[in-house]
Each structure stands twice: as structure tokens, then as C-alpha cells.
Symmetry: C2
Subunit: 147 residues, 2 copies
């Protein structure tokens, strides 16, 4: 189980290094969407001392190789997660929560532009609005909640 990620790295042409194994392990342990610095903090909490730069390097390499999913949801920082299936995201403008939205098609890219713009690798959809919890909170109270 520990070597399973290593195998996928090697298959992707990546060297299996301590930072990369630690980073992908952290993402698996945390579940959900996390920024580079959140991953860094999680590792620090668990006594894995990695330079901030190395976390950024690892996340970039892993995302480029397709081992983790990178999503820019416009929340400021890019969020990463372990890649199971290709999907999209919904961002709540009230509380900032990010939730998954199943992809309409199964393959990537799941949409194609009408015009010819070149070669399309992927199409990421970001839905924006107010999440169910914030809508419900509006009925009762007015306070924003934490996810």
C-alpha cells in the first residue's frame, strides 16, 4: 500500500522521492480539497519537515503527471486532491466551500469549444453560487459557517 503510489510515479516517469511520497500520502490522508500550504502544514503537524518549496515542487510534478488533480477554483490558491475520477467543482461565494460536481461526460476533455481554437486538453467547469448549507442558514440565522 505504501509502495502503490511509488509504482504509479515510476509508471509516469517520475522518480520516487521522499517529498513526493509524503505529499501524496498527506493528500490521501486529508481527503478533500487543499492548498499547497495546507498540505505543508499537515505534514509539519505530523512531524514531516519539508521545505515549503518542496511541497510546491512535488504538487506540481504530481499534478503534471496526473497522479493528483489540480483545480483553480478562483479561491486565491490552487487546490489539490487525490485524483479518482475527472470532475468539476462548485464554489460557495458565501463560505468559500468547495464541493465536487460529477462530470457530465466521462472522458477528458468533456466539453469542446464551438470554434477551432487549437488542441484542447481539458475543460474545467467552475460553478459559483451559494451552497445548500448557506442557503439553509439564511432561513434561520445570518452567520456564515465553516466547512
Amino acid at each position: 500500500m505504501a509502495g502503490e503510489a511509488g509504482t504509479r510515479m515510476r509508471e509516469a516517469g517520475l522518480r520516487v522521492t521522499r517529498p513526493r511520497v509524503a505529499v501524496i500520502g498527506a493528500l490521501e490522508a486529508m481527503r478533500g480539497h487543499h492548498t499547497a500550504d495546507e498540505v505543508h502544514a499537515h505534514l509539519a503537524r505530523n512531524d514531516v519537515a519539508l521545505p515549503r518549496t518542496s511541497v510546491y515542487n512535488s504538487l506540481t510534478a504530481l499534478a503534471d503527471a496526473g497522479l493528483v488533480m489540480r483545480a483553480d477554483v478562483g479561491r486565491g490558491a490552487i487546490v489539490y486532491e487525490v485524483a479518482e475520477t475527472w470532475h468539476h467543482h462548485f464554489v460557495c461565494g458565501r463560505c468559500g466551500g468547495v464541493s465536487d460536481v460529477p462530470c457530465l461526460a466521462g472522458a477528458r476533455p468533456c466539453l469542446t469549444p464551438g470554434e477551432d481554437v487549437g488542441a484542447v486538453d481539458e475543460a474545467q467547469v467552475v460553478f459559483r453560487g451559494t451552497c445548500r448549507r448557506c442557503l439553509d442558514a439564511d432561513g434561520g440565522g445570518d452567520t456564515a459557517h465553516e466547512h
Copy 2:
């Protein structure tokens, strides 16, 4: 023509202020997709001295009011443009160029998530890949071009 933008601001419940008029004027003059700092630089070049903060404030207000379009294409900074019709974007991973992609539907939101996530205001699609010019350049040379 100068007061036209002012009217739309008032209609949107915004006060018509010098920074906002200058910023929307700059976006109209520049055409295309531009970052907050690019707008700031353009104004400075045209002897309109605005604090950087004010450009950020104005762009945020104008975008929230729907007078300009805000697009996070993951290029680092958010880009703004004068809003004519709702559309999506294609980003070239080679040269960083951003081009418009006509929206599939006409209205906003143009897509709906399968699941119930709450109230969806908009759905922005970001296509990523290699633009036609970079593809063509690949055949002849190897160098990246400017847009």
C-alpha cells in the same frame, strides 16, 4: 458616451466615482483580457494616477455589479474585460494566450450540475490546451510567440 457607463453604474446601485469611470474606460480602450495591474499601468501611462488599491477596488465592484467580466483562467492573476456577452475562455499552456470561446447556451448559468449543490449563479468553463498559433509554430520552429 462618457456618461453611458455612469448610467449603468447607477442602475446597478453603484456610485459613479472617478476611479470606477477611469477603470471601465481603460478596459474599453484596451480591449481584450487584462489583469488589475495591467489596467493600473495603462492608466498611469495615460496620466491617470490611481492607487493600485483603487484599481482593485473598482474592478471588484464593477465585476460584482456585472458591468465587467471577471475570469480566473489560472494564469496567476485574474483577468477582466468589458462584458458584452457571456462566454468562456481558452488558455494556451504554451504561450499563455487567452481567447474567447462562445458560450454554448446564451444565458447564465449555461450549465447545471447534475447534483443539487445549492443555488448556482454561473458556470465558467476554462479550456486548456495549445492554441492554433503555437501548434503551427511547432511545425516550423520551436520558439514561443507573443500574443
